[in-house]
Amino acid sequence: MTLVTARQLNKTYLSGEIPVHAIVDADFTIASASFVSFVGPSGSGKSTLLNMIGCLDPPSSGSLEVAGQDLTTLGSREAARFRGKQIGFIFQDFNLIPVLTVFENIEYPLQMVQNWPRAERRQQVEALLAAVDMADQAGKFPHQISGGQKQRVAIARALVSRPQLVLADEPTANLDRETALKIITLMKSMRDDSGTSFIFSTHDPKIVDNAETIYTLEDGRVKTAHREAKDA
């Protein structure tokens, strides 16, 4: 089943008065429950593409459909609602909320975005905490845990509302090799358990090696390279 469909997708923005074509005529599809990586040098358009798929940045032209929703027609409020329901985000710098505990950070999307009942929230957060092996750190604040643990919390937060898609922008960039490998393994097993698709933008060969589908970007143009994933 297709989760993301992009047709003749373009993104142009102005740098001063000069138009910059960040994405040019991108055509691709991404299936459900897939593990996809967009790779390319800095400035190739990876983050721009992820932002468009994540409903954070509207395309300049073309069509982009995610989970059956045409993203070109959404206003900012609808876009926020769609993101809250269908998309999880994992950031390079983890972006946990510093005044919330590990438990509360994971709980945040359920409480502040989706208004889940308290008992269901607790059950879901506890399940995710156990899945990312952070149950014993639930009461700690972000500054009290390591980078790898923060990224585990970020993964749990991205998955807590059961989205169809998780977008991860350089999720291992700030982690050491061993931790990065653990995080990749975790994300893959989470994909296997939940059926959620993971889309990465990355330079990291460890992620690239584990991706089932790789899209290479060069000067905003998407090139496809299919490959069999190896076990992380």
């Binding site: 769609f82 998309i87 950031f91 972006n95 909320i97 999307p109």
Partner: protein, 414 residues
Amino acid sequence: MRNIIKIATRNLLRYRRRTILTSILITLGVVAVLLFISVSGSFKSMMISQITDSMIGHLQIHRQGYLASMDSLPLNRNLKPGQLARVEQALKKLPEVAAFSPRIKLGAMFSNYAETTNIRLNGVDPEREAATVPMLMKRIIAGQGEGLLAAGEILVPELIARGMKVKVGDGIVLVATNRDGSVNGQAFTVRGILEGISGPGGRDGFIHLNDARSLLRLQDMEVSEIAVRLHSMAQLEAVTQQLRSTLGSQRNQQDQPLFAVHTWEKLTPFFNIARMIDLMTLFIKIMLVAIVLVSIMNVMVMAVYERINEIGTIAAIGTSPARILWLFLCEGLLLGLLGTTIGVVVSLLSIRGMAAAELSFDFGRQKGLLLQPSIALSDIVTVSLIVIAIAVIGSLQPAIKASRMDPITALRHV
């Protein structure tokens, strides 16, 4: 909402020093305003009671037009016996009225048998006058005794007593012109010397009502005015309205109202001073608003600027702009609440401390007036609501900015 409050509280605790400094600023503003209101209010109510309790009464009833020509003390605008009876009847029906005193006001020549001067006099029923203006007795600086005065006695204002060199027990003569233009004289004994006070009637002398009638050769029981004392000043407006309504049906031949009811505010220029105090209080409140507005806006602008990346994160994961707005408004609200609560507590303790210290001050010729600062609950509530509302308003612009932030721009912010 509980989660929003929790996050807002933790964010305030996160920047503890800034939160404390801003709260102190708001606290100082609240304390300054509440102390000013309590002290100026104490001064104002003391001055009002000095004037109403020692001369004017809380309100007065005259025949229509008397007040406009009061300087010449006209006898032809007195209340006639029938009119007086109607007013007395109306007053007796009101439970809010504590006492009332009919007065004949007149001008006369005051002679010590060697020199003569002008004097303004009030002919009063001593018992009713003492009940209506209880502080009048305290103004007698020489010759205190049983009751205010008796028939044949006069309370002489201090300035005239000094100028005419009369003392308690001396004999004097009053000469007055009656309504028909004929002159009459009558001998009196100086019963006491009366301290002068600021305001209308503050330098008048007093004689017995019956003496005033005989001096003016008034055949009937007619009076110039009726001074009224209420059980509580808070009832003034309601009683005035009721009297105006009751007495308003009485019309003269020109179909004009026969009676005029005036509150103390219309009878003394001190009301303007009281209004100036109120105006000063208003300006102090405006300064408080400015302090709170500037400090809260400053803090909240900083809060938004420092948390741009966080705003981007919560926006990206789907937090609605309205929730982001509330997060920041709630921080401003909590800052306002914190500063206001501490400010109110400090103010109440300070007011209690000042009251316990029994501070005194002089006002004109009145020495050693005791400052009794107090504050009404309504003033505390009003000031608190103003501060809290301004704290929220001050947070509004930064909160709107945060809620409208583009998630991508915010996430890229370093």
